[in-house]
Amino acid sequence: MWQIVILVGMLICAVMAVRTQKLLISALWLAGASALVALWMYLLGAPEIAVIELSVGAGLVTVLFVFAINISGEGGAPAKELLPRSVSWGLIVLSIGLLAWMGFSGGLPLPASMDGTIFKSVFWQDRAADVLLQIVIIFAGALGILGLLAEGKSHTTKGED
C-alpha cells in the first residue's frame, strides 16, 4: 500500500512541476519527483542508481535550473496554449492508453531471481563501451555549452581580408 503512496506522490510531483506557473517552484517540484523516483528505485533493489539519481537529478539539475531561471527571469503571464487543450489531452490519452494496453495485455513476466551480478563490475567492465561513450557525451556537452555561451563577436578575422 505504501508503495502506491510513493508512486502517486511521484506522479503528483511531476504534475505539479508541469502545472505550476512559477518556474522556480516548478524546478523544485521536479526535484521532489526526482527524489521520489530515487526512493522507488531503491525499493526496486537498485541503491546505486538511486543515490546517483538523488544527487544528479534532484541536486545538480535543480541547481542548473535555478541558475538558468536566474539568468532568464521568470516567464511572463500565462497565455492561452498554442495547442488546444482538448487536442493535447486526446493525444496523450490515446498514445499512453495504447502503450499501456499493448504493454499489459500480454502480461508482464513474473519476477525472476536476481542474477547476483555486482553493479560495479557490470557498469565498469561489462558495459565499458557505454561508459567510454559517456565520457564522449560529457565532452560533447561541455563543448556544446562553451560553444553556445561563448561571448564575443563572430567572424573576428574575416572582415580584414
Binding site: 506522479l11 508541469v18 533493489g45 537498485a46 551480478t117 556544446g144 555561451l149
Partner: protein
C-alpha cells in the same frame, strides 16, 4: 493489492511519460520544456531499473539507467544553454517567439 512491483513501476513509467509529453504539448516556456524532458528521462530511467528488477538483471538495468542519467543531464544542460542564448539574442524564452521558421 495484488499488483506487483513491476506492474506498479510500469504504471509509474507510463504516468511519467504521459505527464512529460503533455508538458511538451502545453509548455510555452523553454525552461518548462526542459523540465518536461527531465520528467520523460525519469520515466526512462525508472523503466530500465524496473525491467532489470523484473528479469533479474538488476545490475545491468542500473548500469544502463546510469548511462541515461548522464546523457539526459547533458541534454538538459545543452538545452538550458540554448534557452539562455535564446533569451539573449531573441529576447525571450517563450515558444511563441521561437516559431519564426516555418512553412
Amino acid at each position: 493489492m495484488s499488483l506487483s512491483m513491476t506492474t506498479l513501476s510500469i504504471i509509474g513509467v507510463l504516468g511519467l511519460i504521459g505527464i512529460g509529453l503533455y508538458a511538451l504539448l502545453a509548455a510555452q516556456h523553454m525552461i518548462k520544456v526542459i523540465i518536461a524532458l527531465q520528467i520523460l528521462a525519469k520515466g526512462a530511467i525508472l523503466a530500465f531499473v524496473a525491467a532489470g528488477q523484473a528479469n533479474g538483471h538488476v545490475s545491468l538495468g542500473q548500469s544502463m539507467a546510469l548511462t541515461i542519467v548522464v546523457a539526459d543531464t547533458i541534454v538538459a544542460v545543452v538545452g538550458l544553454s540554448l534557452a539562455v542564448q535564446a533569451r539573449r539574442y531573441i529576447g525571450s524564452m517563450n515558444i511563441r517567439s521561437l516559431s519564426n521558421l516555418k512553412r
